[in-house]
C-alpha cells in the first residue's frame, strides 16, 4: 500500500494519532523550508503537507498569509513547489501538497498530477475545490496514482459528508473550526461528532485540522481521530526559532498523540 496508508497504520499500531505538519513551500526560503521540514520529521512528524503559496488565500488567517507573502516575494514558483515535494519525498515521509485550485488549474490539471507524482508526492489537499467541480481532477488523480483529499466542515450536512467521503482517497480532512487557519485557544466539542459522522460514511483515516496548535489539543483530538494537523503553530515556531523551533514543536506535539 501507499506511504500515506503506511504512516496512518504505523501510528495506529503504536496506539496514537499521526502528526501531520503544514508548511508553505519557500518559507522562510526554498532551502529553509526543506531544512525546517527535515527538523520537523526528526521531531516526530509523520506526514508533511507542503503549501502551494497563493496570492489569494481565503481560507488562511494572518499567520499563514504572512508566510505565504514572504514565500511569494522570495520568488516561489510552481517549480519551487514540485522541487520541494521531491526533496521532502526523498526524506522518506509521505509528501502532500495543499493548494488552492487556481494554481493547479493554471499549471494544467493533468500535468500537475503527472509532475507531482513523478516528484514522489502522494496526495493533494484542495481546500477550495469541492467534489462537484472536481471531474477533471478526479480523472487526473486516478490516472496518476495521486490521493485527493477533500474537506468536511462542521456545517456539512450528512448528504455532503457522504459526497465528500465518496470522492476522497487517502484520508479525510475534518475542519475543526468554522473559520480560517490560525491558532485557537479552544477547539469546538462539535468536531468529535463530525468525525463520528464521517466514520459512518467512510473507512478512510480521518485527520483533524484548523486551529490546532498545542500538545493538549493534539491529545484531545488523538482520542477520536486518526491524525492531527498543525500548520500556523509551525510557522510561528519557525519565525521565532527557525528549524530548531520547528523540531521542538514537533517533539512537544508528538507527546500529545498517545491514546
Amino acid at each position: 500500500m501507499s506511504l500515506l496508508h503506511d504512516a496512518f497504520a504505523r501510528a495506529k499500531s503504536e496506539n496514537r494519532a499521526a502528526l501531520i505538519a503544514y508548511l508553505p513551500a519557500g518559507y522562510p526560503t526554498e532551502d529553509g523550508a526543506v531544512e525546517c521540514i527535515t527538523a520537523m520529521v526528526e521531531g516526530g512528524v509523520d506526514i508533511v503537507e507542503i503549501g502551494f503559496p497563493y496570492s489569494d488565500p481565503v481560507m488562511d488567517g494572518p499567520t499563514i498569509q504572512d508566510a505565504v507573502n514572504i514565500s511569494l516575494e522570495g520568488g516561489t514558483k510552481s517549480a519551487t513547489v514540485i522541487n520541494t515535494v521531491k526533496r521532502v519525498a526523498d526524506l522518506g515521509v509521505p509528501a502532500l501538497v495543499m493548494s488552492y485550485w487556481n494554481p493547479i488549474e493554471r499549471y494544467g490539471v493533468d500535468s500537475f498530477a503527472t509532475d507531482f507524482h513523478a516528484a514522489g508526492g502522494v496526495g493533494v489537499i484542495t481546500p477550495d475545490l469541492t467534489p462537484e467541480e472536481a471531474d477533471d481532477w478526479i480523472l487526473a488523480t486516478n490516472s496518476h496514482d495521486v490521493d485527493r483529499v477533500f474537506l468536511v466542515a462542521l456545517s456539512s450536512s450528512d448528504e455532503r459528508i457522504a459526497k465528500v467521503a465518496n470522492a476522497t482517497t487517502g484520508f479525510i480532512y475534518a475542519g475543526a473550526v468554522m473559520g480560517v487557519t490560525g491558532a485557537r485557544t479552544s477547539i469546538s466539542d462539535a468536531i468529535e461528532g463530525l468525525v463520528a459522522k464521517v466514520r459512518r460514511h467512510s473507512d478512510l483515516p480521518v485527520a483533524v485540522g484548523l486551529g490546532v496548535s498545542t500538545p493538549e489539543q493534539a491529545h484531545e483530538i488523538a482520542q477520536y481521530a486518526d491524525g492531527v494537523i498543525v500548520g500556523s503553530a509551525f510557522v510561528t515556531a519557525i519565525k521565532k526559532d527557525g528549524a530548531a523551533g520547528a523540531k521542538a514543536l514537533a517533539q512537544a506535539l508528538s507527546k500529545g498523540l498517545a491514546r
Partner: protein, 402 residues
C-alpha cells in the same frame, strides 16, 4: 419571441457554459445552499416581490428616467445618446437595486448581521443604507488604498452606522476586501449574510445579483418602446464585476439586433499590463469562487489590476460576462484612464451631469461606437452612478485647486 425567453440561465450548479460554479471552502457550501433556497423561494413569493417593489418605488425612486444627451452626442458622431439614470437612485448608483433584494433575503433567512466588500464605496454605502433601514448590523471591508481615494464614501458609511474595516494586505483594493469578507463569512456564517456587491463570486450570487439588477434593462426596454418606438442599436455599460452591465443587458439579450457593449477599465493601456480589462486582456481561471476571465501570471497568481476607478479595479469579472463574450453575444472593449477622464469632463460640461468615474468608461466607449455608427444610431448608456464621491480624484486629475 420575447426577451425573457433567452436569458442565459445557469445550470443547476451555477455554470454559464464553462464559467461560474462554486469554488469555495466546504464550510461555506451549506450557507450557499441556504441562500440558493431562500432566493428561489423568494423569487416566486408574491409577498417578497411586493415588499421589494414597494422599496424600489418609494425608497429608491424607481423607475429611473432616460435622459437624452444632445450636446454630448455632438462629440459622438451625431448618434443619439440616451442615459439610463441610475445615478438618480437613492444612494447615487445602481448598487441599491441589489442590496434591497439581498437585505430582504437576509431577514428571511433570520440573519442579523451583514458584511460587504466595497471598492468605490458605492456598494458599501448601499449596504450600510439597507442595514440601517432594516435594522441589521453592518461591517464593510474596504482596501486601505480605496479608503483614501473614496474618503467621502467612508464617511457616509460611518454616518449610516456601519463599521468600515480598512484592509491592509495584498494590493489593498477590492480583491483583498473580498478575501477579507470571505474570511469573516466562513467564521460567522450562522449569523451573517455576505452581501456580495456584483455578479461575481460562487453560485448563486451571479444569477441572484443579476436578477435584482435586471429591472434596469426591463425598465429601459419599455421606456425605449414607448418613447422612441424602437429598441436601441447599442446598449453600453462599464464592467467591473459586471452588475450594472448585466442589469441593463439582460432584457435585451433576446433582441439579436441590439448590440451589447461592455467597457472594461484599461488603466494605463492593455499593452502596459497595468489595467483591469479581464475579458479583453485576461485568461480563464478561478478567483473568488468562480471560473471566469481573470488576471493572472504563469503560476496562477493573481496579478494586481490598475484603474483610476476604484469600482472597476478588480482582476476578475462575473462569469455570465465571460460566457456572453465567449458565445459572441456581447462585445467587450477596453477604455484607458485618460479616455475615461476625458469623457467624464465632457459629460459634466455638456450635460450638467457629473458621472462616477466608473460610468465615465461607458461614456468613452459610447463616444467611440457613436463615431463608428454615426447619425441615426441610438446608443443607450447605463449611467450607473453619480460622481460626488470622485470630485476630489477628478479635481486632482485635472489640476484644479480646491
Amino acid at each position: 419571441m420575447t426577451a425573457n425567453d433567452v436569458v442565459s440561465v445557469p445550470d443547476l450548479r451555477g455554470h454559464f457554459g464553462k464559467f461560474g460554479g462554486r469554488f469555495v471552502p466546504e464550510a461555506l457550501m451549506a450557507a450557499l445552499d441556504e441562500l440558493d433556497e431562500a432566493f428561489r423561494k423568494a423569487s416566486v413569493d408574491p409577498s417578497f416581490l411586493k415588499q421589494l417593489r414597494d422599496l424600489q418605488v418609494n425608497y429608491t425612486g424607481r423607475p429611473s428616467p432616460i435622459t437624452e444627451a444632445k450636446r454630448f452626442a455632438e462629440h459622438a458622431g451625431g448618434a443619439t445618446i440616451l442615459l439610463k439614470r441610475e445615478d438618480l437612485n437613492h444612494t447615487g448608483s445602481h448598487k441599491i437595486n441589489n442590496v434591497l433584494g439581498q437585505g430582504l433575503l437576509t431577514q428571511r433567512m433570520g440573519k442579523t448581521r451583514v458584511i460587504a466588500e466595497t471598492g468605490a464605496g458605492q456598494h458599501g454605502v448601499a449596504t450600510a443604507t439597507v442595514a440601517a433601514l432594516l435594522g441589521l448590523e453592518c461591517v464593510v471591508y474596504m482596501g486601505e488604498e480605496d479608503t483614501k481615494r473614496q474618503a467621502l464614501n467612508v464617511a457616509r458609511m460611518k454616518l449610516l452606522g456601519a463599521t468600515v474595516v480598512p484592509v491592509t494586505i495584498g494590493s489593498r483594493t477590492l480583491k483583498d476586501a473580498i478575501n477579507e469578507a470571505m474570511r469573516d463569512w466562513v467564521a460567522n456564517v450562522e449569523t451573517t449574510h455576505y452581501m456580495l456587491g456584483t455578479v461575481a463570486g460562487p453560485a448563486p450570487f451571479p444569477e441572484m445579483v443579476r436578477d435584482f439588477h435586471r429591472i434596469i434593462g426591463d425598465e429601459s426596454r419599455e421606456q425605449m418602446l414607448s418613447r422612441y418606438g424602437r429598441l436601441p442599436d447599442v446598449v453600453a455599460a462599464c464592467v467591473g464585476g459586471g452588475s450594472n452591465a448585466i442589469g441593463i443587458f439582460t432584457a435585451f439579450i433576446g433582441d439579436a439586433d441590439v448590440r451589447l457593449l461592455g467597457l472594461e477599465a484599461g488603466g494605463d493601456g492593455i499593452e502596459t499590463g497595468r489595467h483591469a480589462s479581464t475579458i479583453v486582456g485576461g485568461a480563464v481561471g478561478v478567483l473568488h469562487g468562480a471560473r471566469s476571465y481573470i488576471m493572472q501570471d504563469d503560476d496562477g497568481q493573481t496579478i494586481e489590476s490598475h484603474s483610476i476607478s476604484a469600482g472597476l479595479d478588480y482582476p476578475s469579472v462575473g462569469p455570465e460576462h465571460a460566457y456572453l463574450a465567449d458565445i459572441g453575444r456581447a462585445e467587450y472593449r477596453s477604455v484607458t484612464d485618460v479616455e475615461a477622464m476625458n469623457a467624464f469632463k465632457l459629460l459634466c460640461e455638456t450635460e450638467g451631469i457629473i458621472p462616477a468615474i466608473e460610468t465615465a468608461h461607458a461614456l468613452a466607449g459610447a463616444i467611440e461606437i457613436g463615431k463608428e455608427l454615426g447619425e441615426g444610431a441610438i446608443i443607450l448608456i447605463n449611467l450607473s452612478g453619480r460622481g460626488d464621491k470622485d470630485v476630489e480624484t477628478a479635481a486632482k486629475y485635472f489640476g484644479m485647486n480646491i
